[in-house]
Each structure stands twice: as structure tokens, then as C-alpha cells.
């Protein structure tokens, strides 16, 4: 199974999470959310929370531009996790910016699982 398809299935809830490869773990996603990574350009260490905050029901703030980011929690922002292309795009960009590489399929599934619980 390719990773984009896995993300779509996890995000839409169409996949039961029993497959070992895709055992999406919300707790792991939560732990990864605040894990900080050094920035290659010498700026402050980065985590998901740098822009999105620790409380996903609250708005975040784009670190470079200051633009407000609407809450990620589907409980307060039902549009979240409804557009597979958007999920793919932002996971690709944001993993590269934050961690310095693309996330693995398992990491992405964990983040989505965590966001879904918020």
C-alpha cells in the first residue's frame, strides 16, 4: 500500500487500524507534536507546536509571517482532515520545515490519529 493512500484511509476513517504497518498511534502523535528539532538555518528549534501551538482547539501562528492558522482540532474546526490532498500537502511541507525531512508513513498516520482525537 502506498503511503498517500494510507493517509487518505486513516484520515477518512475508512481504515481499521489493525494493520501492523499502519498502527496509527495517537499517543505517539501527541508525543511527536512537541518534540523539538534544531533548525538548519540557526533559528530557534522547531516543533509542530511552533506554529500550531500545544492546544489544537486554539488558533496558531505562522512562525515566519505571523499569519493566524485556524485551529487544527476537528472538534472546533470540522473542515480539518476532510481533504486528502490538503493533508498530504501540509504534512509534506511541514515535516520538511520542522524535522528537516519528509515524515514516514507511520509518523504521518500517528499525527493524523492524534489530531483526530482533538
Amino acid at each position: 500500500m502506498t503511503s498517500p493512500l494510507a493517509i487518505v484511509l486513516v484520515a477518512t476513517g475508512a481504515l481499521t487500524l489493525s494493520t501492523p504497518l499502519l498502527a496509527a498511534d495517537a499517543a505517539a502523535g501527541k508525543a511527536g507534536w512537541t518534540k523539538e528539532y534544531p533548525a538548519s538555518d540557526g533559528s530557534a528549534a522547531r516543533s509542530c507546536a511552533t506554529c500550531h501551538g500545544r492546544d489544537l482547539t486554539q488558533p496558531g501562528r505562522q512562525a515566519n509571517t505571523g499569519k493566524v492558522i485556524e485551529p487544527l482540532a476537528p472538534s472546533v474546526n470540522p473542515q480539518r482532515l476532510t481533504d486528502p490532498a490538503k493533508i498530504e500537502k501540509w504534512l509534506l511541507r511541514n515535516c520538511k520545515w520542522t524535522i528537516g525531512r519528509e515524515c514516514t508513513a507511520a509518523e504521518k498516520a500517528d499525527f493524523i490519529a492524534y489530531i483526530k482525537t482533538q
Binding site: 538555518d41 533559528s43 505562522q62 515566519n64 509571517t65 499569519k67 490532498a85 500537502k89 511541507r93 520538511k96
Partner: protein, 188 residues
Amino acid sequence: MTAHQGILILLMVGAVGVAVSDDGNRNGKLGGWLASRADVVPVANAAYGEECSACHLAYQPGLLPALAWTQVMDPAALGEHYGDDASLTETLRTEIASYLVAHSADQASAPRSRAFAVGFDAKAGTGLPRITETRYFKRKHHRVPASLVAGNPEVGSFSQCHTCHRGAAKGIYNDSQIDIPGHGPWED
């Protein structure tokens, strides 16, 4: 006041607008007193608006020349987009790049928009082109003290057009629409 007096006053205001038309109040051919006309064509492409305004003001294409937009929209450049990863699918990238180039400053008819293309040197500088580094932008902002921009927590940088140019999203940049947070109108 009689109707004649009112008309006379309107004509005088109009004359002042024309007389000072190089101070940033020019709006096309009608003079500065018609303050609400866009002097840079507003964004009119859904993909550009959606993709780019996710992170920042969707700068009007008429604020940079075509060559500059081509550099910004290069696939590799989008991966290192002013400190962010702004990678796009190839379909979206080509659509947005085409829109930006077709409506760039050198393709525009509005005088203020065309001014942004004057003197652009694609080989100047080390990074990607910036609106804030165009000759016209620098000429229009060089008297603005840093305390009102970088030192102003509600502004932060010259990239945040809309914090002072309250009509920026509609392409309106004339002096009468400037309201600097914590300071007020700009008196040049």
C-alpha cells in the same frame, strides 16, 4: 452652502489631488481624491489566493515583474521559499506561475503596478526577488523609520503590507489608506 459652492469645493479637492499626483495618491487617470480605486489589480485567481494566502498576504502579481515571479515559482525555489517549504504539485505550480507571469508588473496597465518592474535586475542580490527590494518600493518607503515597522510589534516587517496599507488586499496602496498601528496616517 449652496450647490454651486459644494461643486466648487469638490473641483478644488480634485485639483489638489492632481497637483500632488506623484505623492502616492495617484489612482489611474482620475486623480488621488478618488481614494478607493485599486492601483494594483487585485488577485483574481482562486488557486493563487488559496495556496499563497494560507501563509501570507497573496501579493498581487502586479507587484513584481514576470522574471521575478518565474524565479519565485521555480520548483526548487518553492522548496526554499523565504525560509519556508512552499512545495506545490506540478499542476498547481504551473497554473499559479502562469497567472503571476500573465499579470505581472511589466504586463500591467496601472502606472503604480508598472513602476514595480522598473530597474529590476534578475541577477542582483543573492536570494529570491523581493517586492521590498524593488527600486520603486524602496523609493516609496525609505523615509519610514524602522521604529514604525521592524520595531513595531503590530507590523514586524515591510512584508506585512496590509498592517499599514489597509486596502492592500484590494490592491489599494495610496497614501490616504495608510494607517500605521500605534501611529496613524503617514504624513510624507
